[in-house]
Amino acid sequence: MRGVLAIAQRELGAYFRTPLGWMCLGAWLVVTGYFFGWSMDLYSEVSIQTASSPFGDPVDVDTHLVGQFFGNWVVVLIFLCPALCMRLVAEDRQTGAYVLLSSSPLSSTQIVLGKYLGVMGFVVVSLLATLHYPYFMLRWAEPDVGILLSSYLAVFLLASTFVAVGLLASTLARSQIVALLSSFAVLLVFWVMGVGEGAVDAGWRDWVSDLSMLPHAQPMLRGLIQGSDLMYFFSVNLLLLFAAQQRLELERWQ
């Protein structure tokens, strides 16, 4: 475990020692800040319209503000996670630093876990850096705290899966750019599958819904945490990390 934590710590530190991490964190805050402003505007507009109508129902803050706001984060994560993950193994290979790990007493599993936890550490830091948004929401409106928490859980689980995709791409690719583009392409396909499931034939709809990530996050964005969704994210993460571990192990034999 010490080796896994050492790799995770090094990877996390590397984000803050290089411009990449600061750029990603900055971009993340700027874009989520923009979405926050946009969601607040939308919520205000709907609230004013409803207030001026004698027949209007009270505006549901959880749907019009919280749901809108966190729902947009998925798009940001599709760009952010491949950028964070592209360097994990591909860069180590390019610079020759990977030999340090492959000739160490660490197993491929430990290397993959260490890298994964390192990026997830950065994801947690990125999420912690957004805590002022729920603070403002709680100050200005009255959202359900449970929905706020489950939305954070949804974003965290989505990010963890995106990171696992990015890590696998980084183990497969020879260069960072290829890793970036390939993981971005895969995530885009999953996203399109998620948002476009309604356009699919009824026979395929369940299959597409089960496979893509977004339909498993949407209930959580509405405050509904289901065991099946948690199991989905856990299984997909496990599968992707196993594939990455197998790829590294295969490298010793190729």
Partner: protein, 294 residues
């Protein structure tokens, strides 16, 4: 002790290492030599467990190194030709990281001790990417030493170092060998090999063609115009180990009666005399003889 048995490795159709076997004892300082593409790096990568052999095995004290026994890799310190470094890290952070992943003492005192050993004392706070190549090489050496390995495998350790730094690395390797560490050294600097090693492993085309004690004796090569069958007989009277190398070349260890040999050769149409020294000559002899074998 490390034992390599029947090690073979292919890259596609290329047989990079072909049935290589040898054993190294504690305290041995061995040179692994050969031309580019001879299979040195591949052999070393298999010895540290970075690459799996397609045939054969590596044993550490009777225990076979395979993918399930990755802990055995802790017995080896490895410095590849391109030092494995994270340029954005500081020297001491990097060495501490290397200690952690190798299950070694990562305390500040130990890291300082290792940095002292490789001549990096007082440089722990420096960022690796901003160091000169020579200093980066030392950081690479520090990561190979940090876990006090029994076996040290070094691929071109003095690459990029100036003369003074090279001499310091030599002293370090010598002292490690005296402390019972097995050191395998691959280098193109034959002077370094002569100065440090007592045993040479020579690879050629992936095969181990020489595994013997380093011969520092000098050799003499005589070039004789149109040699007859009697020439060899005459020369043998002065140098019993002399042998024909083809095209009028005769080679022997430099005899005590060097002048008498040359005088005898003069009467037989001597065109030139070449004195070959130490390891260079040993390579030429090995190369010629193995070529004859193949």
């Amino acid at each position: 002790m490390i034992r390599v048995e029947g090690l073979s490795r292919r890259f596609g159709r290329l047989l990079a290492v072909d049935n290589v076997s040898f054993a190294l004892q504690p305290g041995e300082l061995v040179a692994l030599l050969g031309c580019n593409g001879a299979g040195k790096t591949t052999t070393m990568r298999m010895m540290v467990g970075e690459l799996a052999p397609h045939e054969g095995s590596v044993f550490f004290h009777q225990e076979e190194l395979d993918h399930t026994k990755h802990l055995l890799r802790a017995k080896v310190g490895y410095l590849p030709e391109r030092a494995p470094l994270y340029p954005e890290m500081t020297v001491s952070d990097f060495v501490r990281f290397a200690a952690k992943i190798r299950r070694a003492d990562s305390s500040r005192a130990h890291v300082e001790e290792i940095l002292n050993q490789v001549g990096l004392s007082g440089m722990g706070h420096r960022v690796i990417g901003r160091l000169s190549k020579g200093y980066q090489q030392r950081v690479g050496l520090a990561q190979a030493l940090v876990h006090d390995p029994e076996i040290l495998i070094l691929d071109e350790p003095s690459s990029g170092l100036d003369l003074v730094q090279r001499l310091e690395i030599r002293d370090l390797l010598r002292s490690l060998s005296e402390r019972g560490k097995t050191v395998v050294l691959s280098t193109h600097h034959l002077q370094e090999v002569e100065a440090l090693c007592r045993r040479v492993l020579l690879l050629r085309g992936g095969r181990l063609v020489v595994d013997e004690a380093l011969d520092v004796e000098r050799y003499l090569e005589l070039h004789i115009h149109s040699p007859t069958e009697q020439v060899l007989e005459v020369l043998k009277a002065h140098a019993p180990d002399i042998s024909a190398q083809g095209l009028g070349r005769f080679r022997c260890r430099t005899p005590d009666n060097r002048e008498a040999l040359i005088q005898a050769a003069s009467g037989l149409g001597l065109q030139g005399v070449r004195t070959l020294s130490g390891l260079d000559e040993q390579f030429l002899v090995a190369d010629d003889s193995t070529q004859e074998m193949t």
